[in-house]
Structure formats: C-alpha cells, structure tokens
Subunit: 252 residues, 2 copies
DNA sequence: ACCGCTTCTTGATCTGTATCATGGCCGTGT
DNA sequence: ACACGGCCATGATACAGATCAAGAAGCGGT
C-alpha cells in the first residue's frame, strides 16, 4: 500500500475534520482557480452552503456515468479524474483529464443526463455542486452567472484545441502538447512545471490523443533519446522546455 | 448569377421590411429551434428588443474574427456559416458548420474575445444577440438562463462527438457521420433529409473531418459506386439511408 | 459565348502510425 | 518471497490516408 498523502493534502485541510460535509471554500487553496468569485464573504458563504463533499474516490472509482441523471457538476479538490465517453461499438474515448481546481460534468446540462463518464485516476477528493442550486444562486449573483458561462465557454475552446490537435498534428506534437498542458496546469497550482508524475496510463494518453499505446511509448523513448525529456515510467522530467515547446509548436 | 432565393426565404419574412432592424422572433419559423423559450409573449418581446439584425452576409464574408472583442452571439437565420480557428502555423481548422436556427460564437465568452472565426459559406442572414444584454435578461428569466446553459452544454457534447469521430473513425465513417448530421438538421427544419445541397467545399469538409480533399472525393466516389449515395458536385442524394447509417455506425 | 480560376476527381506512390508479436517490468495480493 | 496480471517498450510488417501529379468540370466575369 503506497502512501500518496500529498494528493489529499493539496487542498487545504478542513479545520474540523469530524464532519465530512463541512466545506470551506474560503480557505481552500484552489478557490482562486476553481470558482474565483469577487471575494465577497456573503456570496462565498452562500456558495459553500450548497457544495457537498463526500468521501474521496479511490483509484478507478466512477464519479458519474453517461446516461445517468445529471444533478451536479464537480470540482476536483485533489487527485485526478478522466472524462470519457463510450462509443457505440463499446470502445472508450477519453475526452479530458481533470486536475485539482478544475471543474467537470457540464456536458450533462443539455439533456439532464450525463453525456460522458468520469473516473478517478487515483485517490481523489471531489466537491459536488448541485446544479439546480447553482442555477438559482447564479440568477441572483451576476458574477457567479458570468463565471459559469465563462467556465463552459472555456470547456468549448479547450475542446476546439483538442479537435485541432487530433486533426492536424503528428504523434510527437500531440504528446508534446499534452505534456506542456499538464506542466502549465501544475504551474497554476504552484507545483513544479518541469517534474511531475503522470496520473494516467499510457493507454489513457493514447486514447485521449487518438494514438495507440505503442506510439506513446515510442514518442516518449524518442524524446528521451533527444534529451528533451527524462521518462521513468510515469515520472516525467522536462529537461529542455524550449525543445518541447518547439516540438509542440505546430499546434495552435 | 444563380438565384438562391430559398435560402433567404427560409426564415419568415418580416412583416414590414422597410426597417431592417425590426426583428420578429414570434413569427420566425426557426424560433422553435433557436431559442425556444416557454412561449411567453412578454419574455419574447424582451428578447426581441435586444436582438439585432443587419444586412445579410455575402459568401465568404466574415462574421467575426478570432482575437477581436466578444460582444454578441449569433443565430443563423438563413444560409450557412463555418466556424474555424487558425493554427499557429497559419493553417485553418474548421470546428463546425452552422445552419439556420443554430447559434454560434459562445466560445468568445471565456476571454471576452472570440476564440474562433466565422465566415459565411453562402449568402446568410444572421441575428446578433448582444451578450451583456442577454446576460442581464437571463438573470431575471430563469428559462432563458437555463436555455443558455443548455446551449453551451450542447456545444460541448457536440465537440466531444467530433473529438471521438476524429480519434476513432475511418474516413468513410467520418464522411457518413457528417452527411447524416446534415440530414438530421435538415429534417429538424422540415427540409428533405435525403436530398440537399452542401453549402461548403470539399476542402472545408476535409478540413473539418481531419482528412484531405482527395480523400473526401474518393469517399464520395466510393459511396456513389456502392449505390448508397448520388453525388452531383455539391448536390447530395442519400439513396440508401440504411447503408449510410451502417457506414457511420461505428461512430458514437 | 469564351476565358481563366478555382474546385473537384482520379491515379501512382510514399509514409506515419496501426497492428502484430514478444519480452521485460512493476505493483499487488497471497 | 513469489507468482500472477496489467502495464510498458521495442521490433517487424501492413495499411489507410497523405502527398504528388495531372486533367476535367464548374463558375464568375467580360
């Protein structure tokens, strides 16, 4: 049993840990990223009052499944989550990876049922935000309403970037782009942008990037050989940021 | 000069055509598709009061360009529009086609600047809906707020479908899927689902589907040979819906 | 009605990535 | 400590679609 305490501790610890439903956005280190409202105490309290936190998900546990009724959107507090949908022939398409501070589940709004599934890649703490409460609240809080629109808009532009990546770029470019994306998101959380552990398998990476496992392996090996990367299984170190950027740079 | 009157006449004609800014959602045949609010006269009037309509765009005219300030989202009244973004190396990635009743431009919300560009594929009438007005209005109209969330959510799920298509499906499957999508959207507007004219070029189709022009041509030829399609330049007739569905059906 | 430009089609060849196959490694449970 | 099962790396081969090339067809302008 390997310890991965830093995953759980990344989000600010609760002051009193006895009642697990007590959430405290105000002291959460991620609040700046997650739902950064104009810092108005009253607003934050209102928001907190609707947010639910349940016990952490274990590796491979399902957060929600496509087709099931949509009730909440989710914020990752710690760990990592993959979003995916199942194709008609039963294969899986990974549509995104979600790290602490990021929000997922918004694709369920249009049909009142989840259009995709989400699964924990490692032990993950998640905040559930009931959408009907959020909707009601946002009608009286313009900044929240705006933030939700922006959040969804961001998801759209991110998807468009992925579409472009899949449609126009080579295997090396795709992998380089993903690594840089993860590095940037780490930086945003004040973690190292040059050294990190991939929470997902090669299969998931390949699936996400429209490539096979073998290709991912080969690209990693190649990049290691050219000295821009050090790869030790899931442990990644970016040795030549410049070169990696250039390898990705044909992407948008 | 070829006449294409039916394009412009698809949306309900204005009662008094002298003042071109007078918009009438209530009599618009597309209102059911476009922003189908609970049919409340007062709500509709409020909505109408903020919608702007300018003179139709000609073929190849730009509706908005990536990087420019975001002010409005747009509803297509007639014609057809393509959305695209320009990659860092100057190439174009088509991210979507928009037909009458469909809404585009929501990717601009997150940054207050358009993340993509939009260009008319043929003469097109467009309604511009200033977003700040829409935002204000939606705070006091729960059904409108909800509809906007749903609209954006829909865009996300559509993008996810395209991601899956690009990542998992063969050239034939991609083309078949696009044709069926267009057919369905035609049906929704009470147009023929089996016979229609493609408003976009082969280049645009290829670009959208992550394929080259040549491949698009070949797929069309192949499908014609097997008898599931009749292709006469941009004129498409689906001869065997069943077979086409099957050709696409490996997609989600 | 004609010209020139753009779009489309079809063929021949090339190539990046998938596929197939095999062996090593690592982590987990007994 | 060991064995098993999933995950990863690497080589050999195959193939779908890209690229290169050339001509045909459509379309707008004069």
């Amino acid at each position: 049993m390997s310890m991965r305490l830093q995953d759980v501790s990344e989000a600010a610890p609760l002051r009193s840990c006895t009642h697990e439903y007590k959430v405290n956005c105000e002291t959460c280190r991620l609040s700046r990223i997650c739902l950064p409202l104009a810092i108005n105490h009253q607003d934050l309290e209102q928001l907190e009052s609707i947010i639910q936190r349940s016990k952490p998900l274990q590796r491979n546990e399902l957060l929600y499944h496509e087709g099931t009724p949509f009730q909440s959107i989710y914020a990752v507090r710690s760990g990592a989550v993959k979003g995916y949908r199942t194709t008609s022939d039963g294969r899986e398409q990974v549509t995104g990876f979600y790290f602490p501070g990021e929000i997922l589940g918004m694709d369920g709004i249009s049909n009142n049922s989840h259009a995709s599934s989400a699964r924990a890649l490692e032990t993950s703490a998640i905040c559930a935000i009931p959408f009907d409460s959020l909707e009601r609240l946002s009608a009286s809080m313009p900044s929240l309403q705006r933030h939700l629109f922006q959040l969804m808009s961001r998801e759209i532009t991110d998807d468009q970037l992925l579409i472009t990546l899949l449609s126009k770029n080579s295997a090396d470019e795709r992998v380089a782009t993903l690594l840089l994306s993860i590095a940037n998101r780490n930086a945003r959380r004040n973690l190292s942008a040059s050294q990190f552990r991939l929470p997902m398998s090669r299969v998931d990476i390949g699936n996400y990037l429209g490539l096979t496992v073998e290709t991912i392996s080969r690209v990693f090996s190649r990049m290691q050989k050219t000295g821009m990367l050090r790869v030790d299984n899931k442990e990644i170190e970016i040795l030549d940021q410049e070169a990696l950027q250039q390898a990705a740079n044909l992407a948008a």
